[in-house]
């Protein structure tokens, strides 16, 4: 029987993979996927908390629907920016995007 802790640990693992991917990936699309992982780990938390703490009220589950929609919008905009960089300047590797130095 899966308890709340199991879900929380799963989401923590997903979140850490997301953060790690975001910090270590070179490819912009890989980074977008890592961000998606972070959002979805929060979704798991919301649904798990909603089920185990207050199963009669669906607040947490509704939140996760909103987060999914937001994540889609973020992904669309991020992908658009990456595609623009690729089209105009032939870049997908974000290490190369470093033209400004302080």
């Amino acid at each position: 029987m899966a308890t709340l802790e199991h879900y929380l640990i799963l989401s923590a693992i997903l979140f850490c993979i997301g953060v790690f991917g975001l910090l270590s990936r070179r490819n912009a699309v890989g980074i977008l996927m890592s961000i998606e992982l972070m959002f979805n780990s929060a979704n798991i938390n919301f649904v798990a908390f909603s089920k185990f703490i207050n199963p009669d009220i669906l607040t947490g589950q509704i939140f996760s629907v909103f987060v999914i929609a937001i994540a889609a919008a973020e992904a669309a905009v991020g992908l658009a920016i990456v595609v623009l960089l690729y089209r105009n300047f032939d870049i997908v590797n974000i290490d190369k995007i470093n033209f400004m130095k302080w």
Binding site: G18, M38, F46, V67, I70, I81, N88, F89, M100, W102
Partner: protein, 483 residues
Amino acid sequence: MIEIPFINLAVIYPEIAIFTASVIVLLVDLFMKGEKQGTLSTITMLGFAAAAIIASRQWFHFETGFSDALIADNFALVFKLLFCAAGVLTLFLSVHYLNREKIFRGEYFFLILSSTVGMMILASANELITAFLGLEVMSVPLYLLAGYDKKKLLSNEAALKYFLMGAFASGILIYGIAFVYGNLGTTNFDEIYRALQGKTLYGEPLLLLGLGLILIGFSFKTAFVPFHSWVPDVYVGTPTPATAFFSIAPKAAGFAILFRLLFKAFAPMMPDITGILWVLAVLTMFAGNLIAIAQRNIKRMLAYSSIAHAGYILIALTTGTADGAKAAILYLLAYTAMNVGAFGIVILLGREGEKDLSIAGYSGLSRRHPIAAAAMALFMFSLAGIPPTAGFIGKFYIFRGAVSAGFIWLAILGVVNSLISVYYYLRVIVIMYMKPEAESDRVITYPLSLMVAIILAAWGTVQIGIFPNSWLNLVRDSVSGFF
């Protein structure tokens, strides 16, 4: 039948006005032929004006709606008015710039309008998920605005950096919200306040984690040190009028939600959080001011200076008192005026292709263009906090609030930082007035729209500085019902 939750559309009338304007702008841009910049900017202006009128008529109404997820108290309304003012001023800054850089497209106005909708939701959010939605509705158009000059590599770089940092911050924020929800079983600010009674922050690991992540998320958005690394690059790469907008409106929105979060929802935890905010404030002020000294590009200097100004407002947040909130609102109003002015002069003196942005290039400006130099001097004095300008009044009330709340050291460090900042602001003035004229083929035209923006900004800077009383009454009213 299902019982339909209490919806009070009056809460979001200003948002509806601006959203409607944004949709009309989008459709007109699609279907209108020929010259459309005038029409589109008029519609945008009307949208902001309508929202501002509605917001000012709701003063002291304290509307709530959407199951208490949104609240339109004076505190939210004053921020809504601030966003409208910032939007209108940005519009005046933009018209000439977009023509000069030949990058006019109708989506520009749409992006500014829809981002403002998000800020307004953020300012009146009384619930964590609503705040998150508002933050995203605000941020997503801003990412696009950063990359608006899509033929230019720097603009693209700015967009990507802003997006990556912003999305990262959103991920952290929503994860934190999930933990707060898990610990308290609610995301409504009033209910959080009630649920927190009798709890200590360090006795609840989930709550500590959640609140910490939420603070980090918002710190990224409002660019507190050490979460500021994206700011200079994004501010430089973004088209200048959009930079002006970035440095004012989203920052104000971030502070609006931080005040509501920390002063209302997490008020019982405030004694535990103060230490963190204290350190953040000191770091933000020192890093912003010290790095700004080394800058040669005026936009980069203003970027670091905006970080430092966020540090001053953090002092007000740290105090946790009504005086602090009042001082912060006053400071944000003053900061809006003087920063729009400074960016206006930068646009005025710039040339096509974002050239002529080095501070050294301003040498001897006073001889050939005395009006522009005088205006720039006014805004620099105000940013440095020298009387009788708006910046002085803002800083004065922030430091006074800190002292009366017992944060004497914080106030002293703030004053030290203002002294540091005088160095690099005055350097601009010295270069303009004392240095010999640079060899430059700079030709300045004085376009009407840009002059309107600069004059309005100068008026605001002087008005708040010399006649602060009516503004003090405004901010006093705006926190009524909040404490």
